[in-house]
């Protein structure tokens, strides 16, 4: 505790000193020449021309070789009508919110996701063919036992932050527990597609394809937050409740409406804050939520 202020003051001193060097170096740059280059016509078209040529060559090679790159574009909302090329190369990760997506068209007519940035949290963001990023390898840190506040403070650039965003993307609510538990993998090398602004999403994490973070069981007597799962499908409700650290028990109710089959009709306890006063389930130590799922009346 006593060393910290001294260390940070030292960093301030180093930073201020280093800034002088940078300013001196910047002062030596001939900005007038740079200005002419900025306004030179060739620079206005060189980037797009190179990008277009590269795309043509890549497509030609792909057609010749018969390769079709895997395009993990699941859950990407419809971007038709919202296509907005950004900067020609799609590498402006921090573009304004209106730059919602960069989508290019492939020869087979399927929209190929080159890069996407969605301003809405929780949506899929992918960067499969990012010219600077591409497929990357990161090491997943051991997050077991870390407090949620620690996770939330992480930057989206860090590998661990990718896990953090997967928590948010899974709709996990930390209100039910003070710590998170990494289900899989606790530690290891994760192969991911590089992230972009907004909601990076891990891909191909671990042996089962994804990294799952789960809230630890709440302490006895504490208040837990029960998500509202009425109207969800059974699988979705189980996922949401499980990610919130709750066990799920299922009951059924017959329905003659085929459209309602598999839909959660009710839950107990009701959504909202609930005092965890009931005994936890025996198998996992978690608290249970009962959901009522509609089934076909004939079954």
């Amino acid at each position: 505790m006593t060393d910290r202020p001294r260390d940070l003051a030292h960093i301030d001193h180093r930073g201020a000193h280093a800034a002088i060097d940078v300013r001196q170096a910047a002062g030596e740059v001939d900005t007038a020449v740079m200005y002419e280059r900025v306004r030179a016509p060739r620079h206005r078209w060189l980037g797009p021309a190179v990008a277009l040529a590269g795309t043509v060559v890549a497509v030609a090679i792909g057609v010749l070789v018969g390769l079709r790159p895997a395009l993990p574009v699941d859950s990407v909302p419809s971007m038709t009508g919202h296509q907005k090329p950004v900067g020609g190369t799609g590498d402006e990760w921090w573009c304004p919110p209106e730059a919602a997506a960069v989508v290019r068209q492939t020869t087979d007519g399927e929209p190929k996701l080159v890069g996407a940035r969605l301003s809405t949290a929780g949506q899929v963001t992918d960067w499969q063919d990012h010219p600077f990023g591409g497929v990357d390898e990161r090491t997943v840190p051991d997050l077991d036992g870390r407090a949620p506040t620690w996770l939330e403070e992480l930057d989206r650039d860090t590998p661990s932050a990718v896990c953090t965003f997967s928590v948010g993307g899974a709709g996990l609510d930390f209100a039910g527990g003070s710590h998170v538990t990494v289900v899989a993998p606790a530690r290891g090398v994760a192969r991911i597609v590089s992230e972009s602004e907004g909601t990076p999403r891990p891909r191909d994490f671990g042996p089962d394809g994804s990294t799952e973070l789960r809230a630890a069981p709440p302490d006895w007597g504490t208040t837990i937050e029960v998500p509202d799962v009425v109207g969800m499908t059974e699988q979705e409700a189980i996922r949401v409740l499980s990610h919130a650290g709750l066990d799920v028990l299922t009951s059924t109710k017959a329905t003659d409406d085929p459209a309602m089959v598999g839909v959660v009709l009710g839950q107990s306890p009701r959504p909202g804050e609930v005092s965890a006063s009931s005994p936890p389930s025996g198998t996992t130590g978690n608290f249970s939520v009962v959901i009522q799922v509609a089934v076909d009346v004939d079954t």
């Binding site: 180093r14 800034a19 200005y35 402006e92 989206r156």
Partner: protein, 176 residues
């Protein structure tokens, strides 16, 4: 007359600044930031030039932003980090071939206090940009928050963690 005055003032308030004025007022600071984040004055100049080129190319839109300079700085940070990461694999391959530690690729640095900026570049992008704006441009937390489109508390947190990490890194390097 009052109507004309109002119309005139409204016209002035909504008109975008000329790119030349914008460039003249921002270029030095942006180049400095780019140099800090790329480790090399030549590469920094190139990155800054590319950022301004993109701004110029789409000035009709970007010039209407509240702070076009913030947009250019964010592009600089993205380009700098992209290039740094892209060079990372090359450095690692070179290090393997030479069977020795690469030391974060400081071989091409021309900036005098390169160890500090090398440590900065090892930070996450947000932290690196915040540190660059804080030290190179001597901006306040409020200014950095506006530039990064982040809450002030987030910027404070970024700077706090960045400085703590820098202290660790520089101590590890035996440079403190």
């Amino acid at each position: 007359m009052t109507v004309q005055a109002g119309a005139w003032s409204r016209e002035v308030s909504v008109s975008a600044p000329s790119f030349a004025d914008f460039y003249a007022s921002e270029v030095r600071a942006v180049v400095g930031l780019a140099i800090a984040l790329t480790a090399d004055p030549g590469v920094g100049e190139e990155v800054a030039q590319e950022a301004f080129t993109r701004a110029y190319r789409d000035w009709g839109r970007i010039g209407d932003y509240d702070d076009p300079g913030a947009w250019v700085r964010r592009v600089v940070a993205n380009l700098a980090v992209s290039r740094w990461r892209r060079r990372g694999s090359e450095r690692r391959a070179l290090a393997r071939l030479r069977a020795r530690d690469d030391r974060r690729g400081t071989e091409s640095l021309h900036v005098v206090d390169h160890d500090f900026w090398a440590a900065v570049r090892s930070l996450p992008r947000d932290q690196a940009l915040a540190v660059g704006l804080f030290y190179v441009e001597d901006r306040s937390v409020a200014d950095i928050a506006a530039c990064m489109s982040r809450p002030e508390n987030t910027v404070k947190s970024l700077l706090r963690r960045a400085r703590t990490r820098l202290a660790q890194l520089l101590d590890e390097e035996g440079l403190a």
